[in-house]
Amino acid sequence: MRLAVDIGGTFTDVVAYDPRTGAVVEGKAPTTPEGRAEGILQAVAAAGVLWPAVEFLIHGSTVVINALLERKGARTALVTTEGFRDVYEIGRINRPQSFFLGFRKPVPLVPRSWRFEVPERLSAEGEVIRPLDRDALVALGQRLQRLGVEAVAVVFLHAYRNPVHEIEAKAILQEVLPEAFITCSHEVSREYREYERTSTTAANAFVGPVVRQYVQDLRRRMAGAGFEGRWAILNSNGGLMQPEEAESTPIAMMESGPAGGVTGTQALVHQLGIEYAIAFDMGGTTAKAAVIEAGVPRLAEDYFVGGYVEGLPIRIPVLDIVEVGTGGGSIARVAPGGGIRVGPESAGAQPGPVAYGLGGTEPTLTDANLVLGRMDPERFLQGRQRLDLQAARLALSEQIAGRLGLGLEEAADGIVAIAVAQMGHGIRALTTARGLDPQDFTLVAYGGAGPLHAALLAQELYIPRVIVPPRPAVFSALGMVMADWRVDLVRTRIQPLASLHGAELIEQFALLQAEAAEPLRRASLAPEDLVGSWGADMRYVGQEHTVTVRLPAEVFSDPALAIPRVKQRFDQAHHLRYGYQAPEVPAEIVNLRVQIVGQVPKPGFPELAVGDQHPPEEARLGRREVVLPGRSRAEAVAVWNRAALMAGNRIRGPALIDEGTSVTLLPEGGALEVGRFGELKMEVQWE
């Protein structure tokens, strides 16, 4: 049995897959904030899975992002090069909200009084300009001991190029502080730009003791429940890592949960032979999207905890998952001065939409969908949570429709349309910023609210094909079952291409690859199961921003031709992204990238029983009064029970496909076919 556990903000989802029978079961339990292990045990019990039967467990968790957002971490000190302890507070000096006099800067996790400097210095070329003052470091260690620090981050300038002083400093500090969690910048990130690296290293230290405790607790509780198998944690890069790695580089767990959905999308589109897809994950609190290009999800160029405006940057290999909206909990309001706004304020899961009856008073997107009849108050979450339709109607009518002189249905439909338009802008930006066109992609929609908005979003983006995967509400957990082992290494090595020889570059990559393979070897993967791929972040000499260029093996087949081929690949990538290239202008490498995927035997998506074109009668749930998009009046619309549909079944819009935890809306003029793996393939139209 292969088991995935995804701890979200509200629920802990469990998906178990039995490769022998192909059976999939799922379970859900409320997340238990204090001892998260408790929620896992409950969810596993709810799924009816017996612990001794679990051979391999994959875990994704919000423990790291929560610790950072709530700022509940270890007592952390920062040690920097003399003259630079304030880099962490100075940051990048930018004001994203240019006219807002109440702007706030990102607040460091380590206060100034806990940031210390030691004499040492390297040059940009990595040469020692000033040796490390060992005595000063020993004295500092003793001071940190007196202060009772639990974690220490060591960040020296140019350590990305040469970590010699960081390695030395860590050894000295660890000797004085044997219990402390000590982490150096070069262990977390080997990219230049000191503020981002400082922030990443400090965050790693801040959550280090928390995650260490968490992993140990999990290990103990699961063993106590009878678990004897192996386990892995989902890395933010979408691959698996050993629990021991999470203990030393906990920051890698940052996007551990959402990465599961992207991994699942990647696996699904691979099985379906689709190369370009947008993974769209919409839940109660957020809507997120990620691009899969040539079958592979991209890594983000930057990442900020809690968003760009006030968030601290984290520089690790994390899938490029971008928040494009605030989910079903998005609050609709009449703006000062008139007009209507949807989000970014969200009622989240608590108090949640008005219809939840948990104290929410402002109408949300979910309330609007309920009023439109697109969600069934009786079937929501398979009847586990009752929805109060009347309360939703009242809130929408009083707070929105009445004040704007709109009909109730018109206002509700408008709220959905606005939310969809906004999410559309976010998704479009993800593609066009890279010179891609959303129309070339298939939209894969999951999360509790994704299937309901997928077709509308496709119309907004002129995307003709939409897929709703099986079990959309627990798809992130399902995706974790499909994950491979994966290591990404990025190393800043600024060098003009013209100064390099092919053999030299190949050697640099080979060394990096050997380093990347190390953790996978420790995870007992056989060398023949490891697939390495190389790439580089490059730019024209004089530019600052880079383009990531994939460099497949054939580029290096003849070392003598390697450099011109790399240049050619870069010119092409630049052209794709920016619309022009300059073959005559010299280029330089900024970062080397190596990725190793450790492939392990794993399940594909199980196939569904095959039926014919006509859905079986028992799939029919009758008709429901639904206000369709752009209409102001309800009409009877066919509703289907997804659980009873068979592969090959076809349905014409308008229709709703209800599966209790989620509803798929198929608009008028749209057509749907149930695929081999139970996925709903929709084709949508627009004027």
């Binding site: 003259g83 000096i93 994203p96 100034r112 949807v342 004089g542 619309g579 300059a582």
Partner: protein, 581 residues
């Protein structure tokens, strides 16, 4: 308000317009060739209606808020509406039209729909070099580089090769210039394409109705805020160090703001006449300064930025002032004085809206640059100065922010030390907050920074740092912050402060250094009212020295086992009301 258009369609169009200018912005930023565009964000993109009025701006450079609109209006006046054809692409860097320096190239693409001119997609970007003298000092526009009047760089879809050759002949780095040019063209074409998509989906009438409704909404918001201010005439003044030519000769800044009902007038008639040195700005920049202040105080988070928001604002600005200079005034440091004008407007309006205003900030980019030959490559270089960031003023409910870019700029980033040292032959020895630089107050001003850069090879230093003599002011009893400062540090470690913040090709030997001290922000409210715990916290964190805590805040602290502790008895004595005389 447009009654015929549903608020829902209006809202969908509103988010679409913001998204289009965001996409233009991303496009330009990622494709530009020079660091000033993609790191300092010295650009602005936007969509404009057929009359040149701002529909949506993507920043970029906040102080360029009027630059695109006024330039398009000048282009319309120049060619007449009938003189502009599909496939034309208009270009100028006329400093007296866009109000700023010659580095700012403005491209405007007329957008046609079914044969009718419906608007413009435009972009401004700062080119790294447009020729002109390498010396820091200029006294007329002709020494500042290539001037392009309003021209068509594309005529009916065809690029003017001769014009491009003229440009390439007049700049030092033609490859970079052409790279930036292409990036700007790509950005405006993106704007046109997406605008066409919007028109195809919603139709011209609806889109125009939506734009009218969006502008009307912004206008209502702004008017309501102005109406809430007490009517009256509000005045304030400040001064600049000098004009860059005649040291020690202050330049007066005087603003008068008149609030009457829901209208607000900014009168800049009493500003200094234009100066002989290079700190002049054109009238577009003077008007921009008033608009920036107005936007900050009325509708800071209302998007898109559009001309509806400025309908309640009138600006009185006669020609020939230092922020409405006429040919041949030197304009290279156009951005400096408008920043102090914005701050002075905030100061003037403090009595009218204490809750919205802000104390003075360091008000300068603090951009220094060096040039020379890099011994590592043997090549000549000119470094763009890293912007170190300075202190911002405190507000009624919050301390000022430390180490943040001045109001001329927005989402502008500093250059990482590690990037600077890869690129240029310098070692940055220190980049730190400047304790005690924030003005004392119930809310303390933000801290400035200090950055020390040591030369690895001989180089020449240019600096145009201002506001070294008029410190960022406090409000309502808050104290001033420390002003900006510049020094040279010789090889023996002796520090020599400059009389002002200016350096004109000052030679620095290998091993010599210079230091930029960024000012702090002004305080807000009486420092004696700052909670003792807050002062202690500032001392513990090293933002305020124990001496300043005692002197400015009347709080006595002494070393303790945990670091610092309050001497309550002494503090009570220090904070006791002064005995009656």
């Amino acid at each position: 308000m447009s009654q015929d258009l549903s608020p829902i369609v209006t809202e969908i169009l509103r988010s679409a317009l913001v998204a289009i200018t965001d996409e233009m912005k991303t496009n330009l930023m990622r494709t530009a060739h020079n660091m000033i565009i993609y790191e300092a964000l010295d650009f602005t993109v936007g969509l404009f209606d057929e009359g040149g009025n701002t529909v949506s701006i993507g920043l970029g450079l906040p102080m360029f808020i009027r630059g695109l609109s006024d330039t398009i209006k000048a282009m319309l006046a120049h060619y007449g509406r009938d003189g502009i054809e599909p496939g034309d692409l208009l270009l100028t860097n006329d400093a007296y039209i866009h109000g700023s320096h010659l580095n700012h190239m403005v491209f405007a693409l007329p957008v046609f729909w079914e044969g009718e001119l419906v608007g413009f997609a435009a972009s401004m970007a700062h080119w790294q070099d447009v020729g002109g003298t390498l010396s820091g000092v200029t006294t007329d526009i002709y020494s500042e580089g290539l001037q392009l009047p309003i021209v068509k760089i594309h005529k009916a879809g065809r690029e003017d090769r001769e014009l491009i050759a003229i440009i390439c002949h007049n700049v030092r780095f033609p490859d970079a210039a052409l790279g930036d040019l292409r990036a700007q063209v790509a950005a405006v074409k993106t704007g046109e394409r997406r605008w066409h998509q919007l028109l195809a989906r919603y139709g011209l009438t609806t889109v125009r109705g939506g734009i009218r409704a969006i502008m009307a909404h912004s206008e209502r918001l702004a008017r309501a805020t102005v109406a809430a201010m007490p009517d009256g005439t509000y005045e304030a003044s400040a001064f600049m160090d000098d004009d860059g030519v005649t040291a020690g000769h202050h330049i007066p800044i005087r603003v008068r703001v008149v609030v009457a009902g829901d209208r607000l007038t900014v009168d800049l008639s009493d500003m200094s006449p234009q100066v002989a040195g290079y700190y002049n700005a054109g009238k577009t920049a003077g008007r921009s300064a008033a608009q920036v202040a107005f936007k900050c105080l009325t509708t800071p988070l209302d998007f898109p930025i559009n001309d509806g928001a400025f309908r309640p604002l009138e600006v009185i600005l006669p020609e020939g002032r230092v922020v409405s200079a006429v040919r041949p005034a030197a304009m290279r440091w156009w951005m400096t004085i408008p920043m102090t004008v914005v701050d002075t407007i905030f100061k003037a309006l403090a009595p009218a809206m204490a809750e919205a205003t802000i104390a003075g900030h360091h008000a300068d980019l603090l951009a220094t640059s060096i040039y020379g030959v890099d011994p590592r490559s043997g090549r000549f270089y000119v470094s763009a100065g890293s912007l170190p960031g300075g202190g911002w003023g405190a507000r009624q409910d919050a301390d000022g922010m430390s180490a943040t870019v001045c109001i001329n700029d927005g989402d502008t980033h500093n250059t990482p030390v590690e990037a600077t040292e890869v690129r240029f032959p310098v070692i940055v020895e220190r980049y730190a907050l400047r304790p005690d630089s924030g003005g004392a107050g119930r809310h303390r001003g933000g801290l400035g920074t200090v950055q020390i850069r040591r030369m690895r090879a001989p180089a020449s230093l240019n600096s145009q740092v201002e506001r070294t003599q008029c410190p960022p002011w406090g409000l309502f009893g808050g104290k001033d912050g420390l002003p900006n400062r510049l020094s040279r540090i010789d090889r023996e470690g002796r520090e020599h402060f400059f009389a002002n913040g200016k350096a004109n090709s000052v030679p620095l030997e290998a091993g010599e250094a210079y230091a930029i001290y960024a000012g702090g922000g002004g305080g807000f409210g009486d420092p004696q009212e700052r909670p003792v715990e807050a002062v202690l916290h500032d001392v513990v964190e090293g933002y305020v020295s124990p001496e300043a805590a005692r002197r400015e805040y009347g709080v006595a602290v002494r070393p303790s086992e945990e670091g610092w502790a309050v001497d309550w008895e002494e503090t009570a004595r220090l904070r006791a009301p002064a005995p009656q005389r």
